[in-house]
Symmetry: C2
Subunit: 313 residues, 2 copies
């Protein structure tokens, strides 16, 4: 309980998420201590192609939830996010609205090249924020990468953002992320083409409607101008409606179990991978790779040799 109370301090939360990013051995102990306090946070995913205004929308959603008195955590796993140093100064300043608010915690996840990557780190960082008592956790990712889409689709509710007049970008988004959306947001709706984008989306929804256990959630399309806060209340209402639907249809628990499965599997796979390295003193893979490169061994036979030790232990 003392540990829990300390978690109210932003610095403690930041330290724990750093342990996740560093894949620290201490995480095992931390996870055990936090387990009883998790499962409360509402998890909202937010994704879309670069340039649609993801971070502006995230910032506006933070304000909306704060106005309701909710504590809000943000995990930005988006290389184009201002939190990862990618985007324009204006965005960075805009997010600083929340910089001095102790009930808002914003963290950019830097995991590239890390053991297990986003699939490993993001659920564990989410777990820290959940245990720290944040009522809502927003996960922002760019919606064009496999790992990024996989991660954000594990939220309770997933928003997919589009903007009019983006040509290829929107086409890409439509191709890759249509199926994970619970709510569509057409941002920058004051631009030409917003109605066309919404109409196209409506048509595609009518074609590809998702059926879950017989019941069906019809994805709403919300128009916003996030930079001016327009339509943000409608987005929050759509998230609430989706959550109510999940609860009513008994779908919230399965979603959360799905997230836990992904988290456990990512940890298990990382542990097995580490064991492969330990068993062979680290250089077995190098020697096998040389043989494969030379054409003396195929990669399946090499993989067999690599995991033989894991079986035998």
């Amino acid at each position: 309980m003392a540990a829990r109370a300390r978690l109210r301090l932003p610095r403690a939360v930041a330290r724990l998420i750093s342990l996740v990013e560093d894949a620290s051995p201490q995480l095992r102990e931390v996870a055990a201590a936090l387990a009883p306090f998790t499962g409360r946070a509402e998890v909202v995913g937010l994704t879309g192609p670069p340039g649609v205004g993801k971070s502006t929308t995230t910032s506006a959603l933070v304000s909306a939830y704060r106005a309701r008195g909710k504590r809000v955590g943000v995990l930005a796993v988006d290389p184009s996010s201002p939190f990862s140093g990618g985007a324009l100064l204006g965005d960075r300043i805009r997010m600083q609205d929340h910089a001095t608010d102790p009930d808002v915690f914003i963290r950019s996840m830097a995991t590239r090249g890390h053991l297990g990557g986003l699939a490993w780190a993001t659920p564990q960082a989410l777990r820290v924020l959940d245990a720290a008592g944040f009522d809502v956790v927003l996960i922002e990712t760019v919606g064009v990468g496999q790992s990024e889409v996989d991660v954000v689709s594990l939220a309770d509710s997933t928003l997919v953002l589009l903007a009019p007049g983006m040509g290829d970008g929107i086409q890409a988004a439509k191709a890759g992320i249509l199926e994970i959306a619970d709510v569509f947001v057409v941002n920058k709706a004051d631009r030409d083409g917003a109605d066309t984008t919404a109409r196209e989306l409506r048509y595609m929804i009518s074609l590809g409607r998702r059926e879950i256990r017989g019941a069906s959630w019809r994805q709403p399309i919300v128009k916003t101008v996030a930079a001016r806060g327009e339509g943000i209340a409608d987005v929050v209402a759509a998230i609430d409606a989706h959550r109510a639907w999940l609860t009513e249809h008994g779908e919230l628990e399965p979603r959360r179990a799905c997230r836990a499965r992904a988290e456990i599997e990512a940890i298990a796979v990382a542990a097995l991978r580490a064991r492969i390295g330990d068993l062979h003193g680290g250089d077995a893979l190098d020697r096998l790779a040389e043989q494969v490169t030379a054409g003396d061994l195929d990669p399946y036979a090499a993989a067999d040799k690599l995991i033989a030790g894991v079986q035998a232990t």
Copy 2:
């Protein structure tokens, strides 16, 4: 040898790549048969944010290599690629220049949600094209996702495409993919801002110059208008120069060994993951996930239980 000869048939190549996408058990046998014939292809990666003209550039590079008499394979692991059905009709028609050429093989990789994903499937598809005698294999990915960037960075030479006037998109690209570029291409160089983009790149290269074993490859910046074929010869020359540099500095073999390591590891991890499922009859993960969701178990303890069987076998 008969198997090798048959591989000259596009249909045989397509069938083998489908085995990869389906994660077929036959792959083990196929990989063993192909191993002696691999290691010849020149592997070129091509990446950049959506809308920079990746597929137009890929198409122009295919033409350039064909003019040299090279057989060319293309693996598009890009959700915004026309080959995956994402992009505009114009691009699709443009690529059809090559549709009737038996010495060009173009394949869109559809791996989302698959066992091991891109890291698992792409090197194996590459291996098929290599064994089938393609002189050059181009791998096209969108440069904003972790998995996509990881995959393309395993090429012998990696091109990073940018375009002027893309705002957030370029910023994102700069933040995320600067470090994997061997050659920078500023496409759509007839647009305003091309010089600015090139100048900014040059400045960033001067700051972040990559050092490999004491020697240093200075990434060239090539301007192109791929839609009109302008500058494509310079891109090919830059790839050739990079390849000569790799050879001269003994860096080609380490790169290929690195690719083989990633391939072996992805296969080994997928095999271990499959074994986890087999051992527990498939539902152990479900039961553990329920306990984690309820807060009765932490994910590390759950992962321990999951892999206990793998150890004991």
